[in-house]
């Protein structure tokens, strides 16, 4: 485990990913396809933070609001900042997950899954609520992994420069 290499590259990969995800989700009409071929929706909303600079010169802007347009955050992007934390809303078949994803370590804060039934009836498996919750948590992690895998595919390909050009067009349209 190369922890020093990881500490440097975590920030680069994480911020690139979340910045790409914001643009890509809007560009795709918030629609992505998971590895099992099914569609799911990804919205970045309510809370987003952008960060720029390094060392003592780090500048951050946190934008929150129920239907935030993130104008301030987009201004930050134009000034070279990148997305640092984003509240993701993931939806499939009417079920909703929300999670605040941190770019530096992929910490998952305030992860909410669809509601589960915790009351047991007689004869129910006592582990049923736990297993249902784990299935929902695993599903959320799969969504995040699918998005990250799609990002890595383009990020590590020669197509990344074209992707960045499309990103700049998107940013100038805002």
């Amino acid at each position: 485990m190369d922890l020093i290499k990881a500490a440097i590259q975590d920030g680069v990969l994480g911020q690139d990913f979340l910045t790409w995800l914001w643009f890509r989700s809007e560009k795709n009409g918030w629609l992505f396809r998971s590895s099992d071929g099914r569609e799911f929706n990804v919205y970045l909303e309510q809370r987003l933070s952008v960060r720029g600079g390094s060392g003592d010169n780090v500048e951050k802007a946190v934008v929150t609001g129920p239907h935030a347009e993130f104008t301030e955050a987009k201004l930050g992007l134009r000034n070279g900042k990148l997305v640092d934390k984003a509240l993701l809303r993931l939806e499939r078949d009417g079920a909703t997950w929300t999670v605040l994803l941190g770019s530096d370590d992929f910490s998952l804060s305030g992860l909410k899954t669809p509601k589960i039934e915790t009351r047991l009836e007689e004869g129910d498996d006592p582990d049923a609520p736990f297993l249902e919750k784990m299935m929902l948590l695993d599903q959320c992690l799969e969504f995040v992994d699918d998005l990250y895998r799609q990002f890595l595919e383009i990020r590590l390909s020669t197509g990344w420069n074209d992707e960045l050009r499309t990103f700049r067009e998107w940013l100038s349209e805002q």
Partner: protein, 206 residues
């Protein structure tokens, strides 16, 4: 924070090393060996160890076994005794005063540095027995199929403690699934050098 709570914060790990049948079968035994020990009736500053996920007062898994389908679920309990600094300061000053009073009889008035530090230790020990430890519990789930662990906290101190205690208990280390490590797991080995040298992308301007 409970796995079953409506909302929770999580850190993900990959268990490094092969998951053999022997290790899997030894998990309950190892959890019990490295389980939590109560310190309510001691002066210990801190105690930590594994407890039953369903009942964090249970270090013996009487309430429910840790195995659930292809998961092993348990909690890390951490009890910490905290003596508020102001309380410590007051009792330390009182002890120094008492020491000076006692010294008057011998005609001395100077307390050496070593003696001061001795008084500090004694005061702290005495106060610790009067404060009850504050318990905290963090759920963890080990998916034996994927060999990944989900820990219900993002607190860096608790994470470090969990990683060490996991390693101590099972002889296996944990790799945090941060962007870099996750990327290495998701990509072909031929692209690992690329991952090592990535620079931040010029998103705003070429």
């Amino acid at each position: 924070m409970g796995i079953l709570a409506a909302s929770g914060s999580f850190t993900r790990y990959a268990v490094v090393g092969d998951m053999t049948g022997q290790i899997a079968s030894e998990i309950p035994e190892r959890l019990a060996k490295y389980s939590f020990r109560d310190i309510d009736n001691t002066a210990d500053e801190r105690s930590f160890g594994w407890v039953c996920l369903e009942d964090w007062l249970d270090s013996f898994w009487h309430a429910a076994p840790p195995e659930k389908a292809h998961y092993v679920a348990f909690s890390l309990r951490l009890d910490t005794r905290r003596v508020p600094p102001a309380v410590f300061k007051k009792h330390f000053l009182l002890a120094v005063k008492a020491e000076k009073e006692a010294m008057k009889e011998t005609g001395k008035s100077f307390i050496t540095k070593d003696r001061k530090s001795e008084i500090k230790d004694q005061v702290m020990l005495k106060l610790r027995t009067r404060f009850l430890p504050i318990p905290a519990v963090f759920d963890a789930v080990w998916n034996l199929r994927s060999n990944m662990v989900l820990l219900a906290t993002t607190n860096s101190k608790v994470r470090a403690l969990f990683e060490d205690h996991f390693n101590m208990s099972f002889g296996l280390s944990l790799e945090p699934l941060t962007p870099y490590f996750l990327a290495r797991r998701m990509t072909d080995e031929s692209r690992h050098a690329l991952l090592d040298d990535l620079e931040p992308s010029p998103f705003a301007a070429p």
